[in-house]
């Protein structure tokens, strides 16, 4: 593993995070380490059930425990270990310095409160002040997320708004207290394609405005290419490849990442079937011992019975594969590539 001097003051540094369900079996999230600097966008990519949402929930202290258990790990955010905070201190950070946007805008807002009251509740929790001041701030936030007629929307209930509008309201609520870190768990998955783009543009614009770091969880490589500075690819609870977005897209090294890239439909290429990765993700109660991708991997070999470490290939590009770099293991690929 290549030694690198740690950059000063990362905004968020997660080390060896493991999460398990119950007390027996394999870890659902296994030894995940992440690092991001202020103002950066880190995309966590992977298919459903790979542990990306669990990782996000753990950072927010929102893991349902039990049945889930935090087995190991540290998460340093602004010099504090998130996992050792009291629930009071955690409540202080949540929604204040660190905020989250959820996947389901249709159900993530309280149907009994108006949009304005909901945003104001969060503002008052973290900034204090009067109800009127908090509502003023809510109005300002609705304006900033470009909701039309914000004065009117302030007094409306969630059921009176469309999905895209509600997601904007969620973003307004998340950013109301100027967080330094925003975690967005599939923020556009439940939205129409046209609205998806608007919401992504909005998040990016607001991020540029506020300088907040963004952890964006998605399964959409198109979104990753558009938004990310850093990428972490997760498979079956582990990070299999991570690095700067350019390195991951130009030179994917892990067979899973390569499979993901080639299964993306391209505009114009109509001939032939879409490439798929054979096999399925191993179920949580039957995780293989070594490399968890080995059973589906075209390059699998006997060594894969041992779990490969996340090795640095240079420039922060890390891969957990015994064959990496592939060009050395399979010289023919370098020629073909």
């Amino acid at each position: 593993m290549g030694e690198r001097l740690p950059e000063p003051h990362p905004l968020l540094q997660v080390t060896d995070l493991s999460i398990r369900i119950g007390s027996v079996g394999e870890n659902l999230v296994d030894g995940v380490s992440l690092r991001m600097n202020a103002g950066e966008t880190l995309c966590i990519v992977g298919e459903s059930g790979c542990g990306k949402s669990l990782t996000a929930l753990a950072l927010m202290g929102l893991l349902p425990t039990p049945p889930l258990r935090l087995m190991s790990g540290r998460a340093e955010f602004g010099g504090q270990d998130l996992f050792s905070l009291s629930s009071q201190d955690l409540n202080h950070i949540r929604g204040g310095e660190m905020a989250m946007i959820f996947q389901e805008p249709m159900t993530s807002l309280n149907p009994a409160l108006t949009i304005g009251e909901q945003i104001a509740e969060s503002v008052r929790r973290h900034r204090g002040g009067t109800r009127t001041e908090a509502l003023d701030r809510a109005l300002e936030m609705l304006r900033r997320v470009r909701i039309p007629a914000p004065e009117k929307r302030l007094g409306e209930y969630p059921h009176q708004m469309s999905g895209g509008m509600r997601q904007r309201a969620m973003i307004a609520m998340a950013l109301a207290n100027d967080p330094r870190l925003l975690i967005a768990d599939e923020p556009t998955t439940a939205l129409d394609v046209t609205v998806q783009q608007q919401v992504l543009d909005l998040i990016r614009a607001l991020q540029a405005e506020t300088g907040a770091g963004l952890v964006l969880i998605t399964h959409d490589l198109g979104v990753v290419a558009e938004m990310a500075d850093q990428v972490a690819v997760m498979y079956a609870g582990r990070i299999v490849e991570s690095g700067p977005v350019a390195a991951i897209f130009d030179d994917p090294q892990h067979p899973y990442t390569i499979g993901l890239m080639s299964s993306m439909p391209a505009l114009g290429a109509r001939s032939g079937r879409l490439v798929t990765i054979p096999g399925i993700v191993p179920p949580a109660n039957a995780m293989p011992k070594g490399c968890r991708f080995a059973a589906r991997c075209p390059f699998a070999m006997p060594d894969c019975a041992k779990a490969p470490p996340l090795a640095d290939l240079g420039g922060g590009h890390r891969v957990a594969c015994w064959n990496a770099p592939l060009e050395q293991a399979f010289p023919a690929m370098a020629v073909a590539g």
């Binding site: 949540r94 929604g95 989250m100 959820f102 309280n110 469309s162």
Partner: protein, 291 residues
């Protein structure tokens, strides 16, 4: 999104409350129930100013007289005006119904929400006690408590309230557990809201509709129970009027003066029917799956 900007700023907006009200208005039996309840409420409130003889004023010249122009509903065995006693009895019945349900909700809802919100041993203790209380039949429990507390209308209300409390604990707990699994609870925690705000602003408003329906139906049960307790001498004490105690007296004169039993019986029937119809209507109107 573009359509939104075209709506004039003063356009009337659909609101949840008005939708419920519209559904309620379109339901004839709920309206009938509401009218019955409203009628009895009105006469109970107006009791002191109606031009009637006092409910305890006896007239030895008019004992067990059939309904007439002077006494519209007849007189009882002491010559008291049955209409006047009915009107004042409505006050006792409705007061008993409302106050006892208020007691049941006031204790039951906080306990139920606490059990559903805190889970763990808090839930275990509250739930086991609730189940033990529910194991005793409602009326038997109320009679036992009323007998223990001593006969009076106030004690009857307390007894009925405590007997009805476990229903509200169980309902509030179940509703809280359900609301706790909603996505918006997660987002409430994600913005760092404290327990107080979560309970008052996120749980209470969302569990309220089914509790309101239960309250309406519970008032009907409480009125019957108050009448039963008064019939047994454990509620309203003579000479103060109560429909239940009027029935008790009337049972000795069924052949000579059937009107003494008829009116309280009809009144209990109608007011209980009214609350039940209103409760059913409210349940349909508040049901999000309804048409």
């Amino acid at each position: 999104m573009t359509a939104v900007t075209n709506i004039p700023a003063d356009a009337p907006l659909p609101r949840r409350r008005s939708r419920v009200w519209q559904r309620l208005r379109g339901n004839p039996s709920a309206l009938f129930g509401g009218a019955l309840v409203g009628f009895f409420l009105l006469i109970a409130i107006l009791a002191p100013i109606l031009p009637l003889p006092g409910p305890a004023a006896t007239d030895w010249n008019a004992i067990r007289k059939a309904p007439s122009v002077a006494h519209w509903l007849g007189t009882d065995e002491l010559g008291r005006d049955v209409l006047s006693r009915m009107v004042w009895g409505a006050q006792a019945s409705l007061l008993a119904g409302v106050v006892s349900v208020a007691i049941a909700m006031g204790i039951g809802i906080p306990l139920g929400v606490m059990a559903g919100y805190a889970r763990g041993w808090t839930d275990a203790v509250i739930s086991r006690v609730t189940e033990a209380l529910l194991a005793a039949p409602f009326l038997i429990l109320a009679i036992a408590l009323a007998a223990f507390l001593g006969p009076s209308l106030t004690n009857a209300m307390i007894a009925i309230g405590l007997s009805a409390m476990p229903i509200f604990i169980r309902l509030a707990r179940g509703q809280t557990l359900q609301v706790m699994t909603e996505d918006y609870m997660e987002s409430a925690r994600a913005v760092g809201l404290g327990h107080g705000v979560i309970i008052w602003r996120y749980i209470m408003p969302n569990i309220f509709p089914p509790l309101l329906v239960q309250a309406t139906l519970a008032i009907a049960t409480a009125i019957i129970t108050e009448a039963s307790l008064s019939f047994l001498g454990l509620g309203q004490q003579p000479p103060a009027p109560s429909w239940g105690s009027m029935l008790n007296t009337a049972k000795g004169f069924l052949e000579q003066a059937p009107w003494m039993a008829l009116w309280p019986g009809v009144a209990i029937f109608l007011v209980v029917l009214g609350f039940n119809l209103l409760g059913d209507g409210l349940r349909d109107a508040l049901d999000p799956k309804g048409s």
